[in-house]
């Protein structure tokens, strides 16, 4: 039995959504408001198909469908699984993790060997629901997976009380009072940042979520136009740069960026052109959100209330607040000597890569490469980034005498998220390994430079 400050909250029951008035707006779908009473009726309908106490792989891209399925699963004590990618290897790993798991999706694509759980909504004429179900705080509502550093995705269990506390901390920091706030996002709900900010933040504070996953710049413009203020857009530096480059004249109240460092210059441009306050969140899948800053005001990060950082064994650990267990972070962090809640980010740990906001470890990618039959040796290399919001791709050096580069790419495609596929994939007779088995990073840089210059010769 756990003791300590978390145990009391963990025993208590907490509401499924914070919208006390069933007539309040819980969501916007294509510019149309959906009341909390309708949302709860949809949750009750969808819950009929959920496996009591089982697992549900939630692949919905539409945030309303995602939320209905998530909440419906919670009311049936079922745990929602959120994978880091939807490659066949990851789906197979989900099946291994929870045999018998079904999946919900808002498109028709079926998954081999996984049963589909039908997602039915209430009909327009059906009565709305005025009752907000209660959820035990200790219940594991979701398991968010990271790719980890070995072969299998790593599970991170999220208990309801912790998610509620996380949402409250975020709302407090961002000044989101609940009703009257519309939450927009370009980030998918399956990723921790998208889950906590574009789904749970509105559901658990009484704000309104928006159903559409915004992709193209024109969709962001349209979404801003058709919901009333106060509008908060959750995005990444990559999507924000793409949106501003489109020449948008959209204006809104708040922009929140996460998943990769936002440069001060991009933040300044975004504030000047959109009229928004631009804030940045730092966090990771393991802990959820940890801190915020406003890049145009200060480079220093302010941890959420109760969250504290400390250094141990050369790593930085986060604890307190909504964090259930002390967790080592995968970034290089400089803690303010006078205040354990203030810090600067000094870069990512050597093993971590971040491509357009998606994170992975080189150890995991190398493991996936080595596991391909016919690959004798192989290593991924992350070239030095040109600019923070640009997209830098990985290079892979592979020894595989019997395989073509296309065959290796096809095998990798079934194992890893496409953004991590190597560009280029360079075939070699041997890798320059030292006696220890390690390859010095200078050797990888030299190989990458040589590959680039030989391509230029081919083009000439």
């Amino acid at each position: 039995m756990r003791t300590g400050p978390h145990s009391a909250a963990a025993q208590a029951c907490l509401p499924l959504v914070a919208h006390a008035d069933p007539r309040s707006v819980a969501a916007w779908r294509r510019g149309e408001p959906v009341t909390a009473g309708r949302l709860l009726a949809d949750v009750r309908r969808a819950a009929q198909a959920m496996p009591e106490g089982g697992h549900v792989l939630n692949l919905c891209a539409d945030r309303y469908a995602f939320s209905v399925a998530l909440l419906a699963a919670v009311t049936r004590r079922a745990t929602t699984l959120l994978p880091p990618a939807t490659t066949p290897a990851v789906i197979a790993a989900m099946r291994d993790f929870a045999p018998g798991t079904g999946f919900v999706s808002d498109n028709d694509a079926d998954l081999p060997e996984l049963p589909r759980i039908p997602l039915a909504f209430s009909a327009p004429g059906d009565p709305e629901s005025g009752t907000v179900p209660l959820v035990e705080g200790s219940r594991v509502a979701a398991i968010v997976f990271t790719s980890g550093s070995t072969g299998a995705p790593q599970p991170h269990a999220k208990r309801w009380a912790s998610l509620v506390r996380n949402a409250a901390a975020e709302a407090g920091r961002l000044g989101i009072a609940g009703p009257g706030h519309a939450i927009l996002g370009t980030v998918p709900p399956q990723h921790m940042f998208g889950l906590e900010s574009t789904v749970l933040l509105p559901l658990l504070t009484g704000a309104a979520l928006t159903a559409e996953r915004l992709f193209y710049p024109a969709e962001i413009d349209e979404a801003i136009r058709r919901v009333p203020p106060t509008r908060i857009l959750f995005t990444t530096p990559f999507h924000l740069r793409n949106w501003l480059d489109s020449g948008t004249t959209g204006r809104l109240e708040t922009i929140v960026s996460a998943t990769a460092p936002l440069s001060e210059s991009l933040a300044r441009e975004a504030e000047a052109r959109t009229g928004a306050t631009v804030l940045e969140i730092y966090g990771c899948t393991e802990t959820g959100q940890l801190a915020t800053r406003r890049p145009t005001v200060s480079a220093q990060w302010h941890a959420y209330d109760g969250v504290r950082l400390r250094e141990e064994d050369g790593r930085t650990w986060a604890s307190g607040g909504h964090i259930e267990e002390p967790t080592a972070l995968s970034d290089v962090i400089e803690i303010d000597p006078g205040d354990a809640g203030l810090f600067h980010l000094r870069g990512r740990a050597a093993d971590m890569v971040n491509i357009a906001g998606k994170r992975n470890s080189l150890a995991y990618l190398n493991h996936q490469l080595a596991a391909i039959p016919g690959v004798v040796d192989g290593v991924f290399h992350f070239p030095d980034e040109a600019r923070p919001e640009g997209v830098t791709r990985l290079v892979a050096f592979v020894v595989a005498p019997g395989l073509t580069p296309d065959a290796i790419l096809a095998a990798l495609r079934s194992r890893i998220d496409p953004v991590f596929l190597p560009r280029p994939l360079v075939m070699l007779d041997a890798l320059p390994r030292r006696a220890t088995g390690k390859i010095p990073v200078e050797e990888l840089r030299r190989l990458a430079a040589r590959a680039a210059s030989s391509r230029q010769r081919e083009d000439a």
Partner: protein, 101 residues
Amino acid sequence: MMADPVDNPPAARPHADESLVREIAEQVVSALNLEVSPGKIDPQAPLYREGLGLDSIDILEVALVVSKRYGFKLRDDDQENLRIFRSLESLAATVAERRTK
């Protein structure tokens, strides 16, 4: 609930000629810094995944370049994305159909 107005493709699509296909191939290669020569891209091969191997990050970059060069905005759901970016030829057909410049 009201359905969103969608752009229904006309029965007979404007023909995307070879020079437009080539022009778009050059823009895709240059925007994404690809290692393939524009003339070597099979106009009917998939742009996503197998084939040219583009992902959603690339699609956003290409959409930005195409919208600036041809003066129309892409605003579609994921299914529509898959159709437009199915091949160089289908992207060129969309450009030919919707371009304003």
